[in-house]
Subunit: 553 residues, 2 copies
Amino acid sequence: MGTVTKAAQPYVAFETSPEQYRHWKLSFEGPIATLSMDVQEDAGLSPDYRLKLNSYDLGVDIELADAIQRIRFEHPEVRTVVITSLKERVFCAGANIFMLRGSSHAWKVNFCKFTNETRLAIEDASQHSGLKFLAALNGICAGGGYELALACDEILLVDDGNSAVSLPETPLLGVLPGTGGLTRVVDKRRVRRDLADFFGTVAEGVKGRRAVEWRLVDATYPTSQFKERVTRRAAELASASDRPASGPGIKLGPLAPAVTEDALRYSSVSLEIDRDKRVANLTVRGPETRQPTTPDEIVQAGDRFWPLRAFREIDDALLRLRLNEPLIGTVIVRTQGDPAQVLAIDETLLAHQNHWLVREIIHLVKRTLKRMDLTSRSFFALIEPGSCFAGTLFELALAADRAYMLDDPERPNNIALSGMNGGPLKMSNGITRLETRFLGDPERVSELLEEAKPFDPQEALEAGLVSFAPDELDWDDEVRLAVESRAALSPDALTGMEANLRFPGPETMETKIFGRLTAWQNWIFQRPNAVGDKGALTAYGSQARPEFDFNRT
Amino acid sequence: MGTVTKAAQPYVAFETSPEQYRHWKLSFEGPIATLSMDVQEDAGLSPDYRLKLNSYDLGVDIELADAIQRIRFEHPEVRTVVITSLKERVFCAGANIFMLRGSSHAWKVNFCKFTNETRLAIEDASQHSGLKFLAALNGICAGGGYELALACDEILLVDDGNSAVSLPETPLLGVLPGTGGLTRVVDKRRVRRDLADFFGTVAEGVKGRRAVEWRLVDATYPTSQFKERVTRRAAELASASDRPASGPGIKLGPLAPAVTEDALRYSSVSLEIDRDKRVANLTVRGPETRQPTTPDEIVQAGDRFWPLRAFREIDDALLRLRLNEPLIGTVIVRTQGDPAQVLAIDETLLAHQNHWLVREIIHLVKRTLKRMDLTSRSFFALIEPGSCFAGTLFELALAADRAYMLDDPERPNNIALSGMNGGPLKMSNGITRLETRFLGDPERVSELLEEAKPFDPQEALEAGLVSFAPDELDWDDEVRLAVESRAALSPDALTGMEANLRFPGPETMETKIFGRLTAWQNWIFQRPNAVGDKGALTAYGSQARPEFDFNRT
C-alpha cells in the first residue's frame, strides 16, 4: 500500500500484502490463524496524528481487509481466525480521534464506508466460507475496537478488573458508533434496547459479569486463564467449521495497474477519467485467452483466472475512485469481448461452485458488485456492439442506475443472462439484482432466467432488462444529454436518491448499517455539535469542553 | 388550530375541525367521502410565504391529518375517500418551497416527520379500517403532491396533454422527495429502480401512457371522462371494502387543554416543562370513573371513553412538545392510578376488538405510541408506587429508552401485562414492543404474557421488563444522575442513537421511510449544496442559479 501526497489528502492505493503490513501480525498454526493488532504509532497515513493505543486509521483497516481476503484464498486450511492484540492490556482504542477530527467530511464518510465493508467481509467469510472469527479482547476495547469484535462470531473478554468493552462515541465525541456498532448490538447480539441505550451513553463501558449478562460479550476469563481459554475455544470453533480442509491455496499476486494522471489500466479493466465532464469511463474486457474449465485447472491458473482477476481489478478501481477522485460524479460502464466466453466461464463457476476456490471466487465477485452498489457515484451502463454484458458481467448493468442499449439494425448488439444472475450474486438486501429489479413482477425473474437466449435491444427493452434503447440516430444525443444533465445535479441529492432507490425490497443488518446507521452518522458528522468550533469531536483531547446547542432535532 | 407567535417561530397547536378548515373541503355522499384541496394562499402559518398552486405548509397538513382521523371516528359509513383538488388544472404543487427555504433545520425536520406520519395514517386507515383512498389527480401533481397520491391505494391522472406526476425535488431543489416519495415509488408501487432513477431526475415528470406503463399511476383518462371514471372507481372500491357500515359515528370534541407557560393540562394527561433541567414530565392518569364495558356503552361514552381520550391527549402533548419545545431533551414518563382499572379496560377492548369503534380506538392508541417511538427526545419511564403501568399503559414504559422501577419494601409497586401487549399495538417495524425487546429471547414473550400476575420490582427486573430497580436509598440519586447525565450529552448524537436502537428487528416500508429516507434527507438539509448561500433550495425562485460543490460524498 503506497501513499503519495496529492493536494490536501494523501493518494491512497489499497493493495498490500502481509510482508508489507505495518500494523498487524498474521500467523498460522494448523487450522487457526491469529491476526494480532500491533499498530505502529508513527505509521499512520498522515503525519498529523499518532496511532496510540492500537487506534486505527484507513491504512490499518486496509491491512485488515487484505488479511481477511488472503486467508480465504491463500489459506484454505484455516477454520478459525483469532483477532487479538500484541499490546499489553489494550485490545484496541477504536478509530483514531485526531485523524477523524482533522479529516474532511468526505474522508470521514469514506473511511466509515470502507471499515464497514471490512467488518461485513468478516461476517461474509463466516457465513459463506466456514471461517469462524474469535475476538480475544486482552485489554481495553473501545468504540471501533468493540465494533470490530462485534463483527466476529464470538467475543471473549479478559477479566482483569479493568478491561471493559465500550462505545464511548456518544458521551465523549458527540457522534455515533457508526461502524455497525449500534446496529450489531441490538440486531446481531440482540442486547435489549434499554440496556443498549445505557451502554451507549457510559464512556467507561461495561465489564465482567454484567457484560456477559447483557450479551455484550460471550465470556470473561481471569488473566491467568485467558490465553488457554482462547486457544481452547478457537480449536472448538475450528472443529465445528464446515470449511473444506483441502489445499493448497492460491497466491493473490499484485494487480499492479499502470497509473497515470487520468487513468488506471489493469489487465482486464481500465478506468479513464474525464475531469472536464466529471465522468469516469470504466471498461471491463472479457476473457481473451482460453480459460480453465475444471477445478484443477482453476487452481493451476490461480489469480490469472479471468473472473478472479477482473473482479479484483474492478474492486481496486472502485476503491481508488471513491477516495481519490471525489469530483467524478458519473461512471460510464462498458464491456468489451465475446459474450459466449463470459457465459462459458459462468457455466464453469456454476458447475464447480462447491469447490472451495470457485466458491471464494464467486463470493469475491459478489462483494465487488456490492461495493459498486454502495459507491456514491451515478453508474450508467452503455451497451454497445462489441460488448459482452452477459451473465456475471450483466450484473454490472443491473447494478447501474440506468442501462442504455444501442439499437442499430446494422450492428448486432445482444445481452444475455445466465445462472449467475439467478442466485449466487445477492445484493446487501439478501436478494438478487434481478429480483430487486422486478419486485413488482416476481414471476418474470424465473421466466427470463429460463429463456436461455440472447436479447437484442428491442427484446431487452420489452423484457425490462435495459432502461432505454435509442436507435443509431438518437444514441449519441440521448446518451450525451443523460450524462450532461446528471452532471448538473446536486451531488448530495444524487447520493441520497441513489442510496434510496438502489435498495428496494427486504432489509438486512447490512442494509440497516448502510441505510439507517450510516445516514444518521453522516448527518451528525455535519452538525456543529460534533464538528463545529466548540463541538465534541473538535474539543476532544484539548482543554476545552464542548459547548452544545441543545435544540433537539 | 390556533397559532401564537413565540420567539422566532409560531407556536403551533394541532387541534382543528372541519368547520375551521381553511384549505380543505370535506364532503360526504353515502360511502364516498371527498377531500378536496383548496389551499388559501394567504392563510399559511407564517405571512412570509404565499401558498400558491395548492402548495402546502404544516397548517395544511394538520387539517389533512384531522380529516383522516375524523372520517375514521365520525363517519363509519365511509368506505372510499377521494382526494382531489378544487383548483383548475392543479392537483397540488407539493410542499411550499419558500416555506422550506425560510425554515430552520429543525422546522424542516419536524415538518417532514409530521407529513410522513399523516401519509402513513392514510395507509393505516386503508390497511386496518377498510377505508380505500383514491387520488384523483385533476391537474399537475408535483413533489409532495405526488407523495400524497402515493399514500393512496390508487392513483388516477387526468390526460389533458399537460398534467404529469413528478418528483422535481432533486433536479430543482437539490433535496430528496423525503415524504416517503423515493421509498414508495420503488417499494410500494414497485416502479423499476432504473425508471425511478430517471423519473427522479426530470423536473417535468412523466405523464400519459408512460406514467401507467411505469406504474407511476394506475390509469389516465381524458378530461371529458375523468370525473365519471373517478366516481365509478370510487364506488367500486367502496363495494370491495370490508368496512362495517354500522353507525352512527362519534364526535371527537376538542381536547381544550389548559395551556400555561410551563404546562399543558388535559383531563387525563399533563405535560410539565422544567426548562432549567431541559426535562418535561409527562403524567398519564388512569381512569377515575366507571368505564363502559359494552360496545353500546362505548359508543354512548364517545370521546369521553378513557383510552380514546387519554391517548388523544398524549398524542396532542407529544406533537406540541416536538414543535414548540425544542430545548426539552428528556421526557420523564409517569402514570398514576389503579392498574386493575387499566387492565379492566384492556379486557373490554380485547373482548370487542372487532367492533368498529373499538377497532378505531385500538389503532389510535397504536398510532400514538408510534408517534412516541418517533419523537426525537429521550424517554425515561419512572415506575413508582401509585402508578398504573399495566397493559396498554405499560407500553409507555416499553416505548421508553429506559425504565426505572422503585424497589421499596415498604411501598408496594407493581407492573402488569395484558393481551394488549401481545399483538394489537405493533410498532412501525411490524412487531410488538415486547417482541422487539426480547429479540434475543423470543420464547420469553409468550411466557411473560401467559403469567397473568403483577410483577414486583425484583420480578420485573428478573423478567427483563424494566432496566433498573434501585431501592429507596439509591432511587433519588440514581434517577437524578441518569437524567442529568442524559441532559449533558449532544442532542444530535442522542437523536441518532435513539433512531437506531429503538427499531431493531424487521424493517417495513414505514421504518425505511423514517430510517433510511429521512436520515438521508436530514443530511441533505444540512448540506451547503441545498441550504448554503448558493444552494439550490436557497436559489429557487430567485434570479440566481445554484452553484454546487461537486465533490461527491
